[in-house]
Symmetry: C2
Subunit: 356 residues, 2 copies
């Protein structure tokens, strides 16, 4: 049993509950879309400014968080909600779920602080609506994201994108799944291929422009763009940094970026600036599928630095899809080689936590 | 009757046939995906180099084109196929469909020339598989695209993305639809909103990195990137060009970019370098839904230049979603205002046709 203090049966029960919860929360998101399409809802106009004009939150976002919290409470009536500050809510669990915490994006955003609140306790880390901009524009790439973390490790992940009825899920020991019937990753031909020998060439590269659009020389936006261009440009160009990736994709949802990386659709996802609730479920699924996640920021010597596991609260992520062995390398070796090739081409990003 | 030489009944029949054909061709694409997922197909390995390492074509691509041609032949046995050169095939139609031509991407690509072959005759312009890179990586954003053009005007469009079972379609006089039941655009609240007063701010901007990754100073790649950054950067930055769009999206499928613009999910799509078979169906659907398409390349005076209809073979497209009136402007005026705001921020792209 890889997860401390939980039997597989207990985990299975939580997993089934989380899948059901994700599907219901996604259906609620979709119900509101249906109302907007039929013209029946005034709510869609009630946007509220968050950090900037590209970070809006809808009433739906908050309603779905309330729904999720209530569902947890109904399922486990002995849970307690403790609100140590306005910034976040703590669920202390007195039954089998022990001391479980609930972190939802909206709970954080109401306050000014976004301290990293996850410790070794079992913690629910949830984004009721990832891809808010997509949601407000009715672009299908939005989803609910539910992660369950034990001892800093995401052990259960559920991502449901209701417009396309795609449910990605995983539980430690139970594999990673699309719609509970197809095992991830999907790409097999006939088994999971290694990362390409000349990666990042031949890779689909997933990245996001994000919300920090300040036009500061050498600021994050320009560092991101420079990194994107290095990954995209023809081989040998840009002082050897040209990576000639097969394609560059931006969906506007970190959660779905990770889900598609777990699926094998994307080979590489590189991102800075998102938060733990954006990635907790996706990282659980990616890791269970056989993917690798480390830091987006290149170390001083990308050729030899150890490739460490990502820190969930780091806001800096580099994910590589699951990979099988090549004739000369293990799958993990092909992934690590790809990590180093990405690190050679990307810039250091500067994202801190407020107050940190 | 807006379409010369066709009654609405004749168009309706062609429309129904095209929808059925699109669905069947998409199902064929999906069958091959299923085989790859289950490990049963060696075909998936048989990639053939096209123009560059980012332009691969699968056997499936060609097979689906053959399927579509055969289906046309079966439905209309009096059609003739005339092959005036190795580069393309001409279908001369002797029945009600008159003189109809069939242009498919694979037919073009086999030869060296990509002359623009569409004239005033009724012409089928088809991409059996748009989003080839997505398809080979099993990222769901791939589709079949079937356009029917009369007198240079796309009058019927069918786009089917089988992985997500999304079928976009339109016929002049019959509206534009998602899955033949929801009218496009989807965004209503309660009626189609105008383009934002401060567009491109608040807009979702769709664009593609494309296949031309040559690292030439002031080449197309760098002009594209500069344009993307102008659209994304905070308002007032970059010498007034900062557009602070709500989000930047890249799906890797020009056809689906247009479909989502017709749906209202994307507000602006700006692209250079794709071909008429990538856009014919999408433009038909967008126009029928109330969208606007003009050239990607800004004229000398973007403030006053006439906003002309796109030329299908121009390889340069700027599409604006359907829009309703504001308190002071017609929907069309809000679209044209947005076109000018985009033109102020983007660079001139240089895409010619081989031989042109």
């Amino acid at each position: 049993m890889a997860v401390p203090n939980f039997t597989q049966n207990e985990l299975d029960e939580i997993y089934a509950f989380a899948v059901d919860l994700g599907r219901k929360a996604g259906d609620l998101l979709m119900e509101r879309v249906e109302l907007r399409i039929s013209g029946g809802e005034g709510n869609s106009q009630k946007f509220e400014e968050k950090d900037s004009s590209v970070d809006i939150v809808t009433q739906t976002d908050e309603d779905v968080e309330v729904f999720i919290r209530n569902a947890l409470q109904t399922k486990y009536p002995t849970h307690k909600y403790v609100l140590p500050s306005d910034q976040w809510r703590l669920i202390t669990v007195t039954n089998k779920l022990k001391d479980q915490r609930f972190l939802g994006e909206e709970s954080y955003a109401k306050g000014s602080s976004r301290d990293y609140l996850i410790d070794e306790h079992p913690t629910w880390c949830i984004d009721p609506l990832d891809g808010t901009v997509n949601y407000t524009h009715i672009f299908p790439m939005f989803c609910v994201s539910i992660g369950f973390i034990v001892n800093h490790k995401p052990v259960i992940g559920v991502i449901y994108a209701p417009f396309q009825d795609q449910l990605f899920s995983s539980c430690t020991g139970r594999g990673a799944w699309l719609n509970e019937k197809r095992q991830l990753p999907l790409i097999r031909k006939p088994s999971i291929p290694p990362m390409p020998a000349n990666a990042p060439s031949q890779c689909v590269f997933s990245c996001e422009w994000g919300k920090d659009r300040r036009d500061i020389p050498d600021g994050n936006m320009h560092r991101k763009i420079e990194s994107f261009v290095n990954m995209a440009a023809e081989l040998g160009s840009r002082g050897g940094k040209g990576g000639m990736v097969h394609g560059v994709r931006s969906l506007g949802s970190a959660t779905l970026d990770l889900a598609y990386t777990a699926m094998g659709s994307f080979d590489i996802w590189w991102e800075g600036g998102c938060w733990e609730w954006d990635v907790a479920a996706g990282i659980a699924i990616l890791l269970e599928a056989g993917g690798l996640v480390t830091t987006a920021n290149p170390p001083e010597d990308p050729d030899t630095a150890p490739i460490e596991d990502m820190r969930l609260g780091s806001r800096l992520y580099l994910a590589i899809r699951p990979a099988g062995p090549s004739e000369t390398e293990t799958g993990r070796e092909t992934q690590e080689r790809t990590v180093r090739e990405v690190w050679r081409r990307v810039r250091h990003l500067s994202y801190t936590r407020p107050g940190a």
